[in-house]
Amino acid sequence: MSRDFDAIIIGSGPGGSTAAEVLTAAGLSVLIFERGRNHLIDLDNPATLPQRFSNDEIKYMSRHFLGPDPWAEPRTFRTSVADGDRQLIGEVNNLPATVGGGGVHADGKLPRFREDDFSVESELGPVEGASITDWPVSYDEMEPYYAEAERLIGVSGLAGANPLAAWRSGEYPMPPGPAMYGSLVTSAAASKLGYHPYPAPTGVNSVAYDGRPACNNCGFCAYFGCPIHAKGDPVAPLRRALLTGRAQLRPQSHVSSILISNGKATGVEWIDAHGEHHLEHAERIVVACGAMETPRLLLLSGLTNTLIGRNVMFHMQTFVFGIMPFRVHGHIGRSVTHVHDDHILVDDAARAAAAQAGLPWIKGGLVEHCSPSHLIAEARQYPWGPQHKIMMRESPMRDRLLGFCMQGDDLPQLTNTVDLDPAVTDVWGLPVARTTYQLHTHELIASRHHGARLAEIMKEAGAERILTATSPKTTGDLATSHSEISQVPISRHVAGTARFGTDPSSSACDPWGRLWEAPNVMIADSSLFPTGSGYGPTLTLVALSLRNSRAFAA
């Protein structure tokens, strides 16, 4: 059988792009498949950076420009088997399907995990109903890879500004960018109440870096591609991989299965933009499709490890908004410039709140200081009629709104799964990913406990009115004053569906991210995470991809 490439990488997001850089640097030839379109890089001349993304709310927020299209490539959702086959068909955690993946749409907050995030079972102990386990790697082993990932992507931040941070071997590659006015207001209030806000570690250039310009604060950051390449989306590792001459990137090419026989992958089957099927062979396969599409592909490929697709984690997002008596112009700047971590600590108050609910502990997450920026999203919240323009001018839900978003740690549960929907297919005829997901009591209690503390900060900041909400929505006795959003978590942070570990009976992948069932297949995304933490997954999955890809190339 012909092998034109040493390795095939499926997915061009942060994990796959990092693997591409590592494998090509090691001298291997790689073929990168990406199911989405390419707006990020000039495939014929990767030294140049084409500018294709734009400040366009209709295109990105209403019309799915970064994909996937929720009709052509839907996902399905239910809260438990009691709901039947599914409750919803459409958009479930639609991370972009585009060259660059989730790195393109993110506003680039790239925190590291803390030391104890790698050993939750040992440090905090088990929680009934949750499948908590330690990672097969420690923070100390990860630290050099974190430092390297920050250099490769280009992360701005201020070492020492966060007293709760894990130890680090050096400074950030860039200083923080300018602080948004609203973040200065909420940060001052948080500091006054004893919290520790700090400049968000952000994969956005604060100065020219790596041949790309500094951010010019256009305000179209989260959910938009960057028109000027100031974002540390995976353009940097992809470009370096392509410039070796040993990488080929194939957009609009959907891998439908990995070919596996006798515990070894031999290649992939893929579908081009016109629906034609093709085969491609290689000695090594890297799967980096994200924690929804990766288990889907593994299941479509006939893999049978029972941990594949289990333990899917989101972040339980708790929002506390304050309507301010002054303008905050949240449309100017890079979405979020300040965060605080204090709710990650399991302190006496958190233990007391946990004990009341019969839990050993609760853990919150990183809190983003934010404010909404876009007019169409705002306008839809107001009623039609003569009030419309009055509200738009007063702007209580945008230009006078400050917010906190806590990315609450979501405990893994074996019954929270991604599997193949028994009937719904995508436009190529393949079964789509179905999510079955419910919150653990832990997330509800943590949200309620920390949400109340965030409301105190917002009051201190001078809010005239405070609104709270969660995603997914909370119901029943544990419901707070949170308004109903949806039972489908809107967090794009997903993880856990092919966890790695030291024991083949309780993990899908070995400590180097390789499938126990087919060790020449390596997973390079947050599917590997045994636990989620209260931090966004991207920097950690890039650091893991660096570590694991080096071993995989050997």
Partner: protein, 186 residues
Amino acid sequence: MPAFLTPSQYSILQAVCARLVPADAAPDAAEMGAADYIDTFLGAFSFTPPRIWAGGPFSGRFGGDSSFSDFEELSPAEELAWRTRIEGSLGIPERERLGPVTGLQETYTRGLAELGEEFLGLDPAAQDDRLAAAGDFTGLVYGHVCEGLYGAPEYGGNRDLAGWNYLNYKGDVQPRGYTDAEVSGA
């Protein structure tokens, strides 16, 4: 000449838009181009490339070459999805994979027919009552009106940037962006 609507349908939609966002010191939604935005969307496939995704990176309003008017080509799957959404599944098997889909064209045609030309002759309070009674359709139109007022004008709405100007909102500021002082100052 509307791209999809008949002149009669267009007149009714104009009247609807004018009630959903009526005039005050600033013009009403019809005058700001909301009905033209909706008509352009419904008739997106009468243009080549279809008016689904404007081009990029810059509008030219804050420097750089203007490229928003160069709409993106669609892939076969993207065209299928958008035609299904706008035109409906129409009994075409490949559009009914997830079941029959009522297209936006049919929804608008039916919704405007139910309001009828008599809507044009009603006084504003009676028009508002009719719109309140047509809840789902009114909600759909209102969502599109919001896009047509506050989205980029290349999609057919936000005429002369009226939707941004009355709010002193600059819109798509690339490649100028904002200064650090504008980011951090009150």
